[in-house]
């Protein structure tokens, strides 16, 4: 299992913001090469790995969607060698001042997010939390060098290296959703030694944090019979203790709500019970906020399941996960897929 942690750390040290997934995709491509029969890249940058099922074609298809893109920032203007930024994905501006970042210009430039002193800001802007439009990124270079190396539209990612905490907890940026890519990788590993009838399409999807673009487009050609979306969900912690969060390190979330096909929910619940994998019902009364929102309504509609890995401090550079939950998610997916019989789709019906 050491290689799984090494892979995860490698992914957490890589950039790959929404729409700019090349760096992370290359790492996943390498990791999935020995685990899949075919790898391809979609027209907008999602990675598709096909692991073929046994038996005669046509085979049923299950798609696993784990988005690989991360939140971050983008340069909007350059003033006096300092950069103005906007967000890619949803960032709370209150956690930004003082963060170490990397500006992906013509070369990677280490820098820091700067909160200007109140007296240099409009009167009302300097007192409370300072809005993103007033912040700068400073890379320590003189204006001429910045002009040469940085241009409008360059991405800015968190530079926080992953940290191992106690009790198999790991912290860092972009755990949302690289932990799910890791779980998908574990699932593919487990399927190497288990027979499965269905074709498995592992998709590291692009642009989830911005447009759900990968999830809207990849299923259109793949046309899976069912889809498993794996993403992070809220773990109980400071500020997230209500019904929308589940305990940290105590099992996976099984999504429940309009985006999720009830027969798939029931099948996953049954499988988790049989394997004694701890789980919690993760309520999604309206939309799930995941790739399932998109996949479910592609073409004639695709039955979806949403699997959640509980995560603390989502969308900060110190997101924290329990490695146990990642393993559980990988194992649960592999068991579910391995047990899909050729006629399993007949049971995925609305009228129970």
């Amino acid at each position: 299992m050491t290689d799984f942690i090494a892979l995860l750390k490698k992914m957490l040290s890589a950039s790959g913001l929404s729409g700019f997934e090349d760096p992370i995709r290359e790492i996943i491509h390498e990791a999935w090469t020995p685990l899949t029969d075919e790898l391809s890249v979609s027209k907008i940058g999602s990675l598709h790995g096909l692991k073929m099922g046994r038996g005669e074609a046509p085979r049923r298809r299950v798609l696993i969607s784990a988005h690989m893109d991360a939140i971050g920032m983008m340069v909007t203007a350059i003033e006096g060698g300092l950069m103005r930024v906007t967000e890619i994905g949803g960032l709370d501006h209150r956690i930004l001042p003082g963060q170490l970042v990397t500006v992906h210009g013509r070369e990677a430039l280490p820098g820091v997010v700067v909160q200007p002193p109140a007296h240099l800001l409009p009167e009302s802007a300097g007192e409370g939390p300072v809005e993103m439009k007033y912040l700068f990124v400073d890379v320590g270079l003189r204006p001429a060098a910045v002009a040469e190396k940085v241009r409008i539209g360059d991405t800015v990612s968190y530079a926080q290296e992953p940290l191992e905490l106690t009790g198999e907890a790991l912290a860092g940026h972009s755990l949302d959703n690289r932990v799910s890519v890791a779980a998908t990788t574990l699932c593919l590993q487990e399927l190497q030694t288990r027979m499965h009838d269905w074709d498995v399409w592992a998709v590291a999807s692009a642009q989830e944090e911005e447009t759900l673009g990968g999830a809207l487009t990849s299923p259109f050609d793949i046309r899976p019979d069912i889809a498993i979306v794996i993403d992070v969900c809220f773990a109980k912690s400071t500020g997230s203790n209500d019904w929308s969060s589940i305990p940290f390190g105590e099992g996976v979330g099984l999504g429940y709500g309009p985006n999720i096909h009830p027969a798939l929910y029931a099948a996953f619940e049954e499988k988790a019970k049989a394997l004694e994998i701890p789980y919690h019902r993760d309520l999604m009364p309206k939309m799930s906020g995941t790739d399932a929102m998109a996949i479910q309504v592609v073409a004639e509609g695709i039955p979806c399941m949403v699997l959640g890995i509980p995560l603390r401090y989502m969308h900060t550079p110190v997101e924290t996960v329990s490695l146990k939950d990642i393993r559980r998610a990988g194992r649960l997916m592999a068991a579910f897929i391995a047990d899909l019989t050729p006629d399993a789709l007949d049971k995925i019906q609305w009228e129970e």
């Binding site: 209500d242 019904w243 709500g257 309520l283």
Partner: protein, 366 residues
């Protein structure tokens, strides 16, 4: 053949006791967006003998097709959503009461002091409120927040309710003279109307009835239904608010009524999701005028129907919406006129009978 044609031509759809009974059954069922089971069962039962093909898709839409008989048949999709706004139970608290969230657009001021029915078994519960004696004047100036409200099903509810269960207002269907009072007339009116139209489908079209899911949370069922059916044109049949109430300042004219009761079916010219094809708007208006069926143009503005999703599917599907005007939609008790419903059914039936391939010849002109 002749006999059969005469029979169907002479058999105009109407709203009688059996139609009202079906609507009652539909309104009293629970079908919060994402869990449309009960209404789907009623629909499947109703359409299985009248439609040529019936299918339940990946999202739970019921797609029922009635094929016409002539050579050049226009494929007409009719969409009515089965889901309704409601509640989902999200947490059991230690004192045995349940926290919930709203699904779909409900004004939270409509919730305190209402009875509800929870889960598939329709277990009765109440959304309580603090006794007025214990509230302060300052408190009464503020809305009671959703997160502060609870559903109480009594002290021995045990494990019969669990997080994830849906709940709706407990209001039962009732006739009030010329009107209906019920919950979920939005859009059980549409569902009941489509069932009647399937029974009386004209011969020169293929009638593709989509009983859709998840309209109230983003027109999600209609999108995939339209993709699968790939029709030539579409009509969303829905319910729309009638705000035909007196304005506070009685010198003012109410110029934001949306629709009015007793004015007939509401034909859409624009809402938040769709700018309907004017060829279809005109076809409906001309049908109503010629057949002397009352109609109104819904005031353009916000709101939306399944047409918002349908018209953007594939290379585009000319679409329009027709709604029954309903007062107090999205609350515990809406009120609507039987006549408006009957006229909506009449208009749609008459208009479908006039569909020819020429209707959509040429370019969209607004």
């Amino acid at each position: 053949m002749t006999n059969k044609l005469e029979m169907s031509a002479g058999k105009l759809p109407e709203i009688g006791a059996s139609q009202i009974a079906l609507l009652e059954k539909l309104c009293n069922a629970t079908a919060v967006s994402g869990d449309e089971h009960e209404v789907r069962q009623i629909v499947l039962e109703a359409v299985k003998l009248i439609a040529d093909e019936v299918k339940v898709d990946a999202l739970g839409n019921v797609l029922a097709t009635k094929f016409g008989r002539s050579d050049k048949r226009v494929r007409v999709m009719l969409a009515a959503h089965m889901d309704e706004i409601g509640l989902m139970v999200v947490k059991k608290h230690e004192d045995g009461v349940f926290e919930f969230v709203r699904v779909g657009g409900i004004d939270e001021r409509q919730l305190p002091g209402k009875p509800v029915l929870v889960g598939r078994e329709h277990l009765p519960g109440v959304i309580g409120a603090k006794p007025i004696h214990l509230t302060t004047a300052a408190e009464r100036k503020n809305k009671i927040d959703e997160s502060a409200m609870r559903i109480d099903l009594g002290p021995e509810i045990g494990e019969k309710v669990k997080p994830g269960d849906r709940a709706t207002f407990a209001t039962r269907f009732e006739l009030l003279g010329p009107s209906i009072r019920a919950k979920a007339l939005d859009d059980r009116f549409g569902v009941a109307t489509l069932i009647e139209l399937l029974k009386h489908a004209p011969d020169q079209i293929d009638l593709l009835a989509a009983f859709t899911v998840q309209e109230e949370v983003g027109l999600r069922g209609a999108r995939v239904a339209a993709y699968a059916l790939d029709p030539d044109m579409a009509i969303a049949v829905d319910a729309t608010p009638a705000y035909d109430l007196p304005p506070w300042d009685d010198e003012d004219e109410n110029d934001r009524y949306n629709t009015r009761l007793d004015a007939g079916p509401a034909i859409y010219v624009m809402d938040f999701g769709t700018i309907p094809d004017r060829r279809l708007v005109n076809w409906l208006v001309e049908t109503a005028t010629q057949d002397e069926i009352p109609y109104q143009l819904r005031q353009p503005g916000g709101g939306g129907t399944d047409a918002g999703a349908i018209h953007k599917v594939r290379s585009g599907i000319p679409s329009v919406s027709v709604s029954v005007p309903v007062r107090y939609a999205h609350t515990a008790a809406s009120i609507a006129r039987l006549d408006d419903w009957a006229n909506t059914l009449r208009l749609l039936h008459a208009a479908l009978g006039r569909v020819t391939p020429n209707l959509l010849v040429g370019e969209r002109r607004g």
